[in-house]
């Protein structure tokens, strides 16, 4: 996740990092308002360090999202309400037990409000 300060929010940061690193990034989510910008990028693992450093040189604070969404095992009842509402298919059943592939999560938050047991939380939110 990239945290972009207001001073540099107008700069073509992503474009210049792509040109510099030739990394095939995916913009998963971006929200930019009056005070700051927050962008979630998916980066191929072999380019991760290079892309991170390129952004940091441009003044962007970079937070790697290895576990973007946390599931509270005590609260989860394995209903599966989160499965079909996730745009990136983070959740699935294994013999009716819920399994999360956190790496797929883009922190859109749909599952957080969609979970009837309030068992899901986004990290850094």
């Amino acid at each position: 996740m990239l945290h972009v300060a207001p001073g540099i929010v107008r700069h073509p940061l992503i474009a210049s990092v792509i040109l510099e690193t030739s990394a095939l990034v995916n913009i998963e989510r971006a929200s930019i308002d009056a005070v700051s910008g927050e962008i979630v990028l998916e980066v191929p693992s072999e380019k991760c360090t290079e892309v991170k450093e390129a952004f940091e040189r441009r003044g962007v604070r970079v937070v790697p999202l290895e576990i973007p969404v946390i599931r509270d095992e005590n609260e989860c009842v394995h209903c599966g309400a989160c499965i079909s509402i996730c745009p990136t298919a983070t959740f699935r059943f294994e013999d009716w037990l819920l399994v999360a592939d956190s790496g797929k999560c883009i922190q859109c938050g749909a599952c957080v409000v969609g979970c009837p047991q309030r068992a899901l939380k986004l990290v850094l939110k």
Binding site: G80, A81, S84, V113, R118
Partner: protein, 504 residues
């Protein structure tokens, strides 16, 4: 070949349960057994089939007796952790409903959460207002109670354990937050509820065994069926149960409070019913599979009572995770937990095997005829067609902004629907859009400045729905269209305010 009709009595089965020799399987295991052994063989081999379900059961609640205070109070109104409980039953009896939201935290904490906190042994803050009578002089009271401090805490649920439940999707173009969970726009997903193969009533569809007085597993405690549930509708395979049980013996493993986003609190409950394999009919009924139980996929995008059904699907289809809907692979997900439903059926099977749970004979059968009629509404509410104006002026998208401005000025209205050659709605233009275009010095065709994402209303839609659309999108007028999306009128906030003024 065995031609003798296989039959057993309930007392024989209970005898085996007592001496620990009863053979118990879950309703998930039964279909294969019946297929392998045949119904007669299954009657010989199996004594009890246990069922289970774990899902949102909104129509639930508890009667609580707080004990008498000194001086005594006749409670009129009570708050338990800021959730209102009904005080209209004697002095210190309260009824707390699962879906009641709290006054401080809204729907994030409600009656169901108070019930779960009680079962978890937590302390609950009680605030009560009294009537103030000669025999009950106390006017106000505050205390903190745990489940152990209550004389009785009896769960009484008017409608639980639906035999099966309609699956839900949403054809509209916005995300809906419903009691069936988050429904994505344009039929982006399908949600369902119910345990299918393990569903108690689907394993006894003709109500041969389950009746008034049937002993059941209710959230870890022994409970009882006290009658058919509200909206019981066995003719259409939508039977329901009214059940009771002692909250003090329940477990949070099978009782969980939930909140459906922008809908409200609800209570997830585990209910299991053991079915004695008395004869071949029971064996055949308990051999039901997911593929045999079908439900309609209902479109919640139509905000009316009679929502259209888009497809009939089975629980096997629903549990597969993908269903083809309108030529598109649509992901499904469940709101009830099949994992916990299995735990219910297994726990119940263990209790029976250990001789701790005996089966009971119903004292009265449940009604084979139910009622789930629509509400009789004595105060008719007008439809959009009754209040809209029919003399609507529409324009084509290739006219100039200046022409549209003239039309608006001469017609004393603020909105112009933009239509195609054959009269279908394409967009809308307001006096504000025109002012903005003129102010920016851009005199162009209206196709360049019109709003294309236009909300509309239908002729036979109740005005409440049109009012909700206006309110939700902060707009003041809606074109009214027919089934072919042709514009036939306009309904504005003025029409609605005039209607309200006349009612006074």
């Amino acid at each position: 070949m065995d031609l003798v009709v296989q039959e057993k009595s309930l007392s024989e089965i209970n005898e085996r349960i007592r001496d620990g020799s009863a053979r118990v399987v879950t309703a998930e295991e039964m279909p294969d057994l019946v297929q392998e052994l045949g119904p007669a063989g299954a009657v010989r081999e199996v004594d009890v089939v246990t069922t289970g379900t774990f899902g949102a059961m909104c129509s639930s609640g508890v009667f609580l007796n707080l004990g008498h205070s000194d001086p005594p109070i006749k409670i009129l109104r009570a708050l338990l952790n800021k959730v209102e409980a009904y005080g209209g039953v004697a002095a210190v009896d309260l009824f707390l409903g699962a879906t009641q939201p709290s006054q401080d935290r809204g729907i994030e904490y409600g009656g169901a959460h108070v019930i779960e906190d009680l079962v978890a042994g937590k302390q609950i803050d009680v605030e009560a207002e009294g009537a103030g009578t000669d025999c009950y002089p106390q006017m106000e009271l505050e205390t903190a109670l745990r489940l152990d401090d209550l004389n009785q805490a009896t769960m009484v649920n008017p409608r639980n354990a639906y035999q099966r439940y309609n699956a839900a999707t949403n054809s509209s173009d916005r995300t809906l937050h419903t009691y069936m969970g988050t429904l994505l726009p344009r039929c982006g997903n399908i949600h369902y509820s119910g345990a299918g193969v393990l569903s108690p009533l689907s394993n006894d569809p003709n109500l041969d065994y389950i009746g008034v007085g049937t002993r059941i597993f209710l959230a870890g405690a022994k409970g009882y069926v006290i009658g058919s549930g509200t909206q019981h509708n066995p003719q259409n395979n939508f039977s329901t149960l009214m059940v009771t049980g002692d909250l003090k013996k329940m477990s949070t493993r099978f009782l969980r409070a939930a909140t459906f986003h922008k809908y409200g609190p609800s209570l997830y409950l585990g209910i299991g019913i053991p079915i004695p394999v008395l004869n071949e009919t029971v064996a055949r009924n308990t051999a039901v599979r997911d593929r045999d139980i079908t439900v309609p996929v209902v479109d919640y995008g139509i905000p009316r009572r009679d929502r259209p059904s888009l497809k009939i699907v089975s629980y096997e289809d629903l549990k597969s995770g993908l269903i083809e809907l309108n030529g598109k692979e649509t992901p499904t997900s469940s709101l009830s937990s099949f994992h916990v439903a299995r735990e219910v059926a297994k726990s119940l099977a263990e209790q029976i095997e250990k001789g701790e749970f005996l089966l009971s004979q119903a004292v009265e059968p449940l009604s084979r005829i139910g009622s789930s009629r629509p509400m009789k509404q004595t105060k008719e509410s007008p439809n959009v067609g009754d209040v809209m104006s029919r003399d609507v002026v529409t324009v084509r998208e290739d006219i100039q902004v200046e022409k549209a401005a003239k039309l608006i000025v001469s017609g004393s209205f603020d909105h112009l629907p933009v239509v195609s050659k054959d009269g279908r709605l394409m967009g809308i233009i307001t006096a504000w859009d025109i002012s903005k275009a003129v102010a920016s010095g851009k005199i162009a065709k209206i196709s360049e400045i019109m709003t294309r994402r236009v909300y509309s209303a239908m002729l036979d839609e109740p005005i409440e729905l049109a009012a909700r659309t206006l309110d939700m999108h902060s707009i003041s007028a809606l074109p009214v269209v027919d089934r072919d999306n042709k514009v036939i009128g306009m309904i504005t906030s003025n029409h609605l305010s005039r209607l309200l003024a006349r009612r006074r």
